[in-house]
Symmetry: C2
Subunit: 137 residues, 2 copies
């Protein structure tokens, strides 16, 4: 899977690379890439392939009824618990210490083994909780 490096695949990855910490809707992606001459079917086929390869995460937001994809940058990033702001949509990584403590608590209290890479914590980020200092939206 994902054996050849084609022009279209590069364009798609490049596009995600420029929006590393954002959730992009399929419509948005199809639209943006059609300008570069990438067909709709190529986009969809690559989204599926890249999701299966673990390079993209598929998700939906509360509120609208769209499908979003987010780039899971590097190896390192894949095992991080992500924080996603419900105001501005930006994501970041949880601190290592909080991550470790959470894993331990879940194991002890709930007998649950967390899968960091698949977990996204929602809430309000630093910027957005301070309306006066320039939070988007």
């Amino acid at each position: 899977m994902n054996e050849y490096s084609t022009k279209q695949r590069k364009i798609l990855l490049d596009y995600f690379g420029k929006h590393t910490d954002e959730c992009l809707s399929t419509t948005e992606i199809v639209c943006a890439l059609s300008v570069c001459g990438v067909s709709e079917s190529a986009v969809y086929r690559n989204l599926v392939a890249l999701e299966n390869a673990g390079k993209l995460r598929r998700m939906s937001k509360a509120g609208d009824r769209k499908t979003y994809y987010q780039y899971i940058d590097d190896e390192d990033c894949r095992d991080q618990i992500h924080l996603s702001c419900i105001r501005c949509g930006r994501t970041s990584h949880i601190s290592p210490s909080a991550s470790k403590r959470l894993a331990k608590d879940l194991k002890n209290d709930d007998d649950f083994i967390i899968s960091n890479g698949e977990t996204v914590i929602y809430g309000i980020c630093k910027k957005c909780s301070r309306p006066l200092s320039g939070g988007k939206a």
Copy 2:
């Protein structure tokens, strides 16, 4: 919103009530309720209404490309962080102490205010991590 208590609405809620801790796909729901004489459009309209009313959570799973809904039972449940098993799909609540500690850590370390009701932690549950004692799948 959600003003009248109709037969269809009751059937839908009843169906969710019987699957409190599961994620049900739209197809599955439409299919199951059509047997009881609930039309597809009534299902969709009610899913939207109940999601907006905060009684259902809409989500997608890694792997397939379907839309799922889960029942958010009572008031209490709505502010709980949920644990979802990626093997069997069952959900439960994180322990209060782990929840509090996580909120504190996120605030201190990451300046992030968690929204419990929207957060789902993925991983392997107790049953599924013990293959010998009857974990489903």
